[in-house]
Symmetry: C3
Subunit: 351 residues, 3 copies
C-alpha cells in the first residue's frame, strides 16, 4: 500500500490528514514505534514516545497535528491527524490478515438440532453442537466445539470462538463476539436457605439478552436471570474472567475489565468504565459514565453521572485520595500527638 493510498484511506475517518515528507514508498505493515523497520508504518499518540521520532526506522509515522516533525521529514514521511491512535487502529484493520476461525460452511462433524434455522453464509466448526429450535443469522461463525443448547437465537455476523457455551433460550444480537471458554446463560446463583441449614435451588427461568456489537473475552460468565432477562447493552466490551450475575443490566457502551465481578440485580449505566477486579454488591445502581478504579469494592448505589470511584468500600475518588493521603500521614500525626502529650506532661510537672 502506498503512503498516498493510506492518506486517502484515513481521510475517510478524519477531516484532515496532512502529509509531511516525500510521501514516496510502499508500506508493508504496521509496527510499534520502537520496533518498526524500513517499509513499516507506526504512530505516536503519547508524549513519552516522541523521543523515538529521531531514531525510528519506520517509513511512515502517524502523529498528532501539533507534533513538530519537520526536522525528520527528509528521512521519513509523516501523516498529521487529530487522533493518531484511532487513525492507526483503522490502519491495523487494513493490514490485519483475514482470520480463520473455522473453514467456511458447515463442518460434516457438526450436530444440528431439529427445527433450527441457519441463514446463508453461516460457518459452523468441527464438533459444534447446536440444539433444537435455534436461529442462526447471516454470516455468523460458530467455532469448533462450541455448544448451543435449545432455543438459542444468534443475530447476523456473530462470531463465537471455539469452546463457547450458550445455554438454552439465550439471545445474542448482531455482530456479538464471544471468545473461547466463556459461558453465557448458566444458572443464576440462587438458593433459598432452609431452617435446617440446607438450601433449596431456585429455578433460574430467565434468559440473557446481549445487544449488538458486544464483545466478551475468554472464560467469562454471564448468568441467566431468575425471571426476566440479564441484559448486556449494545456495544458493551467485557474482558476475560468477568462474572456478571443473574438479572444484571449493563448499559450501552460500558467497558468491564478482567476479573471484575458484578452481583445479582445490579444496574450499571451507559458508558461506564469498570476496572479490573472491581466487585459489586447486589441490587445496587450506577449512573451513566461512572468510572470505577481497579479493585474497587462497591457496596452502595452511586447515582451522580460521571463520578469516579475508588476504594473498598468505594467512595468518590477525591474523598478516597484524601483518605489515602491522611493514612500516609498517620505517622506524622502520631508524632505530633506524642510531642503535644510530652509537652503537656512536662508543663504539668512544672506546675
Amino acid at each position: 500500500m502506498t503512503i498516498q493510498e493510506i492518506r486517502e484511506y484515513l481521510l475517510r475517518f478524519s477531516d484532515s490528514v496532512e502529509l509531511i515528507g516525500s510521501g514516496d514508498g510502499e508500506i508493508s505493515g504496521p509496527a510499534k514505534i520502537e520496533d518498526a523497520t524500513l517499509g513499516q508504518v507506526s504512530f505516536i499518540a503519547n508524549e513519552k514516545y516522541i523521543r523515538f521520532l529521531a531514531t525510528t526506522e519506520a517509513s511512515l509515522v502517524i502523529v498528532h497535528r501539533s507534533v513538530s516533525v519537520d526536522e525528520y521529514a527528509g528521512k521519513r514521511s509523516f501523516l498529521k491527524v487529530s487522533d493518531p491512535y484511532t487513525a492507526f487502529v483503522f490502519l491495523l484493520k487494513i493490514f490485519a490478515p483475514p482470520r480463520v476461525i473455522t473453514a467456511p460452511g458447515i463442518a460434516a462433524t457438526a450436530v444440528i438440532g431439529n427445527g433450527t434455522s441457519i441463514a446463508e453464509g453461516v460457518s459452523v466448526g468441527e464438533f459444534a453442537v447446536i440444539g433444537d429450535n435455534c436461529t442462526i443469522g447471516r454470516n455468523t461463525v460458530i467455532g469448533s466445539h462450541t455448544v448451543l443448547l435449545n432455543n438459542v437465537s444468534l443475530g447476523e455476523e456473530v462470531l463465537l470462538f471455539p469452546r463457547v457455551t450458550i445455554y438454552d433460550g439465550i439471545v445474542l444480537h448482531n455482530r456479538v463476539v464471544v471468545h473461547s471458554g466463556s459461558v453465557i446463560g448458566a444458572d443464576g446463583f440462587g438458593f433459598a436457605p432452609q431452617s435446617n441449614g440446607s438450601y433449596v435451588k431456585i429455578p433460574q427461568m430467565g434468559v440473557v439478552e446481549i445487544g449488538d456489537d458486544v464483545e466478551i473475552g475468554a472464560n467469562s460468565t454471564i448468568d441467566r436471570a431468575t425471571m426476566g432477562s440479564t441484559v448486556i447493552g449494545r456495544g458493551v466490551k467485557i474482558d476475560n474472567l468477568v462474572q456478571i450475575a443473574h438479572n444484571c443490566t449493563i448499559g450501552d457502551d460500558t467497558v468491564i475489565a478482567a476479573q471484575a465481578g458484578i452481583s445479582g440485580s445490579v444496574v450499571v449505566g451507559r458508558q461506564c468504565l469498570i476496572g479490573g477486579q472491581a466487585g459489586f454488591a447486589g441490587h445496587l445502581e450506577l449512573a451513566d459514565r461512572i468510572q470505577v478504579a481497579a479493585k474497587t469494592g462497591i457496596s452502595k448505589s452511586f447515582l451522580q453521572p460521571g463520578t469516579v470511584l475508588r476504594g473498598t468500600p468505594a467512595q468518590p475518588m477525591r474523598d478516597q485520595l484524601k483518605l489515602e493521603a491522611m493514612m500516609r500521614n498517620l505517622g506524622a500525626m502520631k508524632e505530633k500527638l506524642d510531642l503535644l502529650e510530652a509537652d503537656l506532661k512536662e508543663r504539668k510537672a512544672r506546675e
Copy 2:
C-alpha cells in the same frame, strides 16, 4: 393451575397458607412483582417491594402473614405464609419447564472407555468422552463435550452441563450439578523451589471428593489433593469462577460466591457464607457458620463459630466497622490535633 391448587401445593411445605381474596382464576406462571400481568403469580418478601401491592397486575401474590392486604383483596388474591420467598421458590419449581441438557440415552458420537459401567437411565451428550473404568450412577446426565478422564465415579442423578472436565479418579456423589466450563481435579499448584531459582513439580497424587447435592457454577476450578482428598461437603453451593485449591475441606452446606479463592489446605466449617472475591491464605481454618464479607482477605484462622469477618486483613465485623469509622473520622482528628497544637503554641508565645 388454580389458586386453590397452589394453596394445597404450598401446604406441603408450610404449616399454614391463608387465602385472602376470591381465590378464583387460573395461574399461568410466575413473574417479578413489578412485571407481573393478569393470570400470573408473584411474591413480596422484602419491605421495599410492598409499594407494588397497590399497582401490581398479578392475579395472585404470596406475602408474609404479617402483611396487611385486605384493601387490595377485591382486585386480586393473596396467600399468606411464614416464608413467602421459599414458598415462591417451590412454586417456581412447578412452573419451570423441563430442561433439556441433552437428548435421552447415549449419543452415538460419545466415546466410552473400557471397563466403564453405566447404570440405567443415564444420558450422555454428543462428543462426550468418558475414560476407562468409570462408574456412572442411575439417571445421571452428562452434557455434550464433557470429558471424564479414567477412574471417575459419578453418583445417581448427577448433572454435568456441557463442556465440563473431570480429571482422573475424582468422585462426585449423588445429585451433584456442575455448570459448563468448570474443571474438577486439575493438579494442585505445588512446586518445590530449587537452589537455582527453578522449581520441581510436586506430583499431585490425590483426588477430589464432592458430596451429595453440591452445585458448582460455571468456569470454577477445584484442584485435586497432593496426597489424600480435597473434600467438598454435602450441600455446598459454589458460584462461578471460584478457585478451591488442593487439600481444602469445605464443610456441609457452606455457600461460596463468585470469584472467591481458597488457598491450599484450608478447612472451612459448615454452613459458612463466603462472599464474592474473598480470598484465603493457605493452611488456616474457619469454624462453622462463619460469614465472610465480599472482598475480605483472610490471613489467619477464626475458630469462633458464627463470627462475621470483613476487611483485609480480615477481622470481626464490629472491629472492622469501628476501624472504618475511625478512618472516615481521620480528617476531624487531624483538625482537632492541629487546633490543640496551635493552642499550645500560642500559649507558649504568651508565656
Copy 3:
C-alpha cells in the same frame, strides 16, 4: 521398593542421605505423616509436624539432618537429608502412577488440518481439532477436545490437558503443561474510544510465546499481543483463573498464584512470587525476585530487586505493616487526643 533403594535414589539429588534405624522393609507408597500406615514413607519439613515423630505408623520418615530421631529408631527407619521436602517430592515422582491423559497415538476422531506436521510419539485425543500449518513436536500429548487454531507451534513433550484452546499463531516451547479450560492467545482487550461514546476494536495482530517448562493451571487466560508478543519466560508457573493481558512479559521462573490479574504491557522480572488475587495496573514494571502478597493492588513500578509488596496501593512490606499497625492503633490515638483536649479545656476553664 526397599528403604536401601530409596536411599540410593535420593543420593542422586542430595550429597548426603544418612540412614537411622534398621533400614529393613519394603515401602509401598507415600502418605502424609498424620495418615501414614505400615509400609509407607512420609516426611517432616516443618517444625509443627515433629510431634508426629512419636505417633506416626510410617515405616520410613524423611527428616532434616538436624532432627533428633534416635529414640524412635527402634520402631521405624529415618533418612536424614538437607532438604526433606524436595527429597520427598522426588520420591513422589517414583510412586506416582503413570498418568493417562489420552490413549497413545492419534485418535480416529481427531481432525488435523492441512500442512500440519506431527513428530513421532505424539498423542492426540478424541475430537481434538488441530488447525492448518501447525507444528507438533516429539512426544507431545494433546488431550481430547483441545483446539488449536492455525499456525500453532508446540515444542517437544508438551502436555495439553483436555479442553484447552490455543489461538492462531501461538508458540509453546518444550515441556509446557496447560491444564483444562485455559485459553492462550485470545484477543487483547483493546478498543479505541470514539467521540460518540462507542468503541472501535483494535485488531490484535500479535501472538503469545511461552518458554520451556512453563505450567499453566485450569481456566487461566493469556492474551495475544496487539503487535509483537506476550512473553511467558522459561519455567514460569501459573495457577488457575489467572489473567495475563496483552503484551505482558513475565520473567523466567516467576510464580503466579490463582486469580491474580496482570494488565496490559506489564513487565514482571525473574523469580518473582505473585500472590493470589493480586492485581496490576497496566504499563508498569517489577524488578527480579519481587514478592507480591495476596490481594495486593500494584499501581506503579517497583524497580528494587527483592522488594516485598503488600497493600492497595502496594508499598514495601515494612511500610505497609507499619501503616496497618498504625491503623490498629487509631483507637488509642483518638483516646489520647481526646484526653489532651479535655486537659487543655479544663486548663482554660481554670485560667
